[in-house]
Symmetry: C3
């Protein structure tokens, strides 16, 4: 389980690093700004989770793999973006938005369920609220810090069912953590979160506003 | 005392949730954005306090009442705001600003003194600086995160004697914690903070600027 | 060593307070806004470091000297800025930028190496990544929060080799912590960080961008 979780979180780290690096490219940052925002987006959720659950130092400070993976991915995003522009075959905005959405959704899904699992192993699955709220905060934390740092309105305030997707997946995942095995709970929970996010983006689901 | 403090903090939570939700309505957020900002504003101060004082997980993660109360209040703010606009009897800007000011001031007062009380019970009242600084950071934390998230200049940097009100109330409250009972210290301290904020807003008190 | 470190960090605190207060003056804040941003910039790095390394309450909450020094320095910056404007002999933008750069660079250098030293004494110098990452986050934390709070793009995303300077100094400092004494490691590491920042600003070093 330990090894599985490390690999699983590495996928989430890579996905969030992509979203951070693309956001940084769009904002016109230089190479190091891109790496900094990629690393921050990829590690913030896990660091917030570890602080909330009382794990010191946070894992991202102890195991260098998370930061190094995020930095490497950010450099790759930089190189691709530069080549695209130089060769004049620059990806259209649509492709960029799809990759950004995918990275952000996978990161959201992975860190929500990984956050829940950490809360369960450190405490228990008894306090469902603690497990779900820890998972949701872990999931949304990276994207929140990414957007606030760069002065974009955080997606949690603006995007179609962003936190709703995380909460819905977390509820189903909690049920599976309690009545099934952790692998199933993590796979299904993550899948549901990504699916809801993609469906919401595709069909432009949105929540009611004060002025419609 | 335990029960009193829970009820007392619930009042502060509701007050900050109102301020967060109204700010979100003004910023044009959808229903979930309003709930997210309401919950974040209402819980951030307490979470920051618990982290500083070494309480893990923070109480807002263990006891669901805080988040649920804040979410419920945010939905109510949403419904009222929508009805106001639909019926054309929309509250004027003045009423909104008064409610926002009240919510924010009560939240500031409650969390400043509740933060002080937590610092005293966890450590002692001996280090007055620790008690006051913990209280002030707890008090201003929620509003700070609310404003930074939504890209408004935080009130602590701009509003008439915002942190000054918190510090003044905290100083008097510390004296009362040491020489009287906690109830008196909390009531008087909170009252002074709210009063200073209201008087400052009413009479437009302000501090000197570089260019006047 | 304890005394040396306190004095050393007080220098970093003063330097960061200057950078925070000048930034606040530029943003047109009133006296208390200037103090608030000065104190926040000066203490945030150390508070983040203590949270990451599991030190509760953070030292800036226990020892009032840090907050009081930062507040005093901020008042002095306010008075000088006001006198400059009143007497019409207002420092030109260039002088202001030089002082801001100096304060920020010294703060970055001091807190990077002080963060590393804290990580080493609390854990060990064995995990080089933990030591360096703790140092860099401590170093960049204050300036990051300063800029995000006031809605400026954080320097870590935009400035010539900002975090690169911190990382380079940290690498050399780590080598010296392991093979020499802490004083040497702290002095040389800090000196290198300040030097790189100043050279980068002087010769306008910058990193590649996507569109050049």
């Amino acid at each position: 389980m330990e090894d599985f979780l490390t690999v699983f979180q590495m996928i989430g780290t890579a996905a969030f690093a992509i979203s951070g690096a693309i956001t940084a490219v769009h904002a016109g940052l230089d190479l190091f700004g891109i790496i900094a925002l990629g690393v921050m987006t990829a590690t913030a959720g896990g660091v917030i989770r570890d602080i909330i659950l009382g794990i010191f130092p946070p894992i991202a400070f102890v195991n260098s793999m998370y930061v190094l993976t995020a930095a490497l991915i950010s450099v790759v995003v930089f190189l691709i973006a530069r080549d695209e522009i130089r060769s004049g075959t620059s990806m259209n905005n649509h492709s960029f938005r799809v990759i950004l959405l995918l990275g952000d959704s996978i990161g959201l899904g992975v860190f929500t369920t990984a956050g829940m699992y950490t809360a369960i192993t450190r405490f228990s699955a008894d306090n469902g609220f603690l497990v779900i709220f820890s998972g949701v905060v872990t999931g949304v934390g990276g994207g929140f810090l990414r957007d606030v740092s760069i002065h974009i309105l955080p997606e949690i305030f603006s995007k179609h069912v962003y936190a709703v997707a995380s909460i819905a997946g977390a509820l189903i995942s909690l049920y599976l953590f309690r009545h099934s095995d952790p692998y199933t709970a993590i796979y299904i929970g993550t899948g549901i979160i990504v699916l809801i996010r993609l469906l919401a983006a595709r069909y432009r689901w949105s929540l009611p506003r004060v002025q419609s």
